[in-house]
Amino acid sequence: MSDLSIGTGTTPKARSKRRLNWAMPVAVRLALSWICLMLLVGIFANYLTAHDFAALDLRHRLEPPIGFGGSPAHLLGSDELGRDVLARLVISIRMSLLIAFGATLIGAVLGTTLGFLAAHFRGWVEQAVLACVDFQASMPFLILALAVLAFFGNSLPLFVALLGLHGWERYARITRALTISAGAQGYVTAVRQLGASPWRLYLRHVLPNIASTLIVTMTMAFPDIILLESGLSFLGLGVQPPLTSLGNMVGYGRDYLTRAPWILVAPAVVISMTTLSISLVGDWLRDRLDKTIS
């Protein structure tokens, strides 16, 4: 539900401001810095810590972080098997971001394609796509996802594909509506008259014209997917050990909530900060690029 807007109530005064205002509020700057930091951590995960994220060190179990009585060897402490929390955190960030990127892309490609198909063929194809959109929008996705996991079991590719199914209906709905309205504009008629194939028409001409709306939709779907991934992994039904993700760390750290809260505090903070940052940037982008989504 991240597509709720903070400020859709556009007053005439705001509307008359033609010039795009690209000056960033401080909060958005901070959010962007946090996202960049997370991306860098994800990319350079392997070089950031001296420890292997799966290496056991049973003599140094449940060590607190530095500053809370811990040693510099484990900056953020160690978990119940003596694994370095910082190393696991870094690898988890990479895993969660990779899954979220993969799933967002799958959802966007699937939804956009279905939206184009609906707008191109109209008739029963459109009705079928819209029926699926309605169905998807009416069921809580977490429940459907759990059912699919129960039926098919779990593996990483399936898990990513499943998360990709989340939110496709938004892209489909937007693409269909925008493509239909683009069809009434001159450029689509011109390109079609020049003999372009539907592929060329949609990918080279319509897609670039609706891309900004789709990108805003993606920034708003991304935090949802991170929340969904971490939720499922938290329940033990997402990413499976020995792999680790942020939700996974919180889930396993829960058993040591009283004795070693640092195991779950670090990943919990990262999840919250990341979804918060992306939401802030997404809202800001929407206000700048596209006021039509609300």
Partner: protein
């Protein structure tokens, strides 16, 4: 009005049918249910007998019809864990879950709507920014993180409340708050933008221009008109609330539908999972029908059409 209700009912049945078919298809595509249940060393004759006793040797469409017929009769199979009827296993958890979701929904509405209205009326003030900032925070912090945080503060550091289990009012407080806060954040954000939209309308200006008291303009003109989009979002929130209970019940070991779903998914107790799926679909449909009927109450223009024009 009758026509309207009939159309809603037909749609509801169609959705249930799609859900049932979805469960059937996914169940069959996911592999041979017999091999999933029995160990690989089971002799072939036993496998065959099992297949026959469950009707799995019939053609697919016969299986589908039988399956539909069984569901119409309320037979949703047996739980593989304790052999009782899946419907019973699921049904006995429903009141336990409602104990969380109903207070949480009330909390959502009681916090979310006033906060949103306040933020809209005091637009760009300190109150507005405070409400919106906490709304974004409440909405981006995952419920399980919030839940664990609350446990850490109110059950571990300050031993005021129990950290989990069910049975007493004290045990309800933390899960209900956890469930309620996220929804309240969404609702506050949405109420604010719905109110701002309405406050920009001409009839509000007319009302205040002709000297109607501001309080009366808000309660008599702005709120009833903002109510329709707010109602739409409350309808959507029921779905979020159901999804939220899965995580929150898991955090607080609350023995409701959500915990049952997680356990059943882990042990691949398919009959129970499918049964929960149908119950959730039914709950969503009932919620949607209620919302649609309320639209008719709130806005006489929508009574004939059976569809809200100004939805989300």
């Amino acid at each position: 009005m009758l026509h309207f209700i009939l159309i809603r009912l037909a749609r509801a049945l169609l959705t249930i049918l799609i859900m049932v078919t979805f469960a059937f298809v996914v169940l069959r595509v996911s592999g041979d249910p017999v091999l999933a249940l029995l160990s690989p060393e089971t002799p072939a004759s036993v496998v065959e007998a099992f297949r026959q006793s469950w009707g799995l040797d019939q053609p697919l469409w016969v299986q589908y019809l039988r399956y539909l017929l069984a569901i119409v009769h309320g037979d949703l199979g047996q739980s593989m864990r304790d052999g009782r009827a899946a419907v019973v296993v699921v049904a006995e958890r429903i009141p336990i879950t409602l104990l969380l979701t109903v207070p949480a929904l009330i909390l959502n509405i009681a916090i979310g709507i006033p906060a949103g209205i306040l933020a809209a009326l005091k637009r760009d003030s300190f109150v507005d920014r405070a409400v919106m900032t906490s709304a974004i925070a409440g909405f981006t912090v995952p419920s399980f993180v919030l839940g664990l945080l609350l446990v850490l503060v109110f059950a571990v550091e300050l031993p005021w409340l129990p950290s989990g289990g069910a049975g007493s009012i004290q045990q309800m407080i933390l899960p209900v708050v956890t469930l309620g806060v996220g929804g309240a954040a969404v609702l506050a954000r949405f109420t604010r933008s719905a109110m701002l939209e309405v406050l920009g309308e001409a009839y509000i200006r007319t009302g205040s221009a002709k000297g109607v008291a501001w309080r009366r303009v808000i309660s008599g003109h702005a709120l009833p008109n903002a109510a329709i989009p707010i109602l739409t979002i409350i309808g959507f929130m029921i779905g979020n609330l159901i999804a939220g209970t899965v995580l929150v019940e898991s955090v607080f070991s609350w023995p409701g539908l959500g915990s049952l779903l997680v356990v059943s998914v882990m042990s691949r107790d398919l009959a129970v999972v499918q049964c929960i799926l149908l119950f959730v679909a039914a709950a969503m449909i009932i919620a949607n029908v209620l919302v649609d009927l309320l639209y008719g109450v709130l806005d006489p223009r929508l009574r004939g059409t059976g569809r809200a024009s100004g939805g989300a």
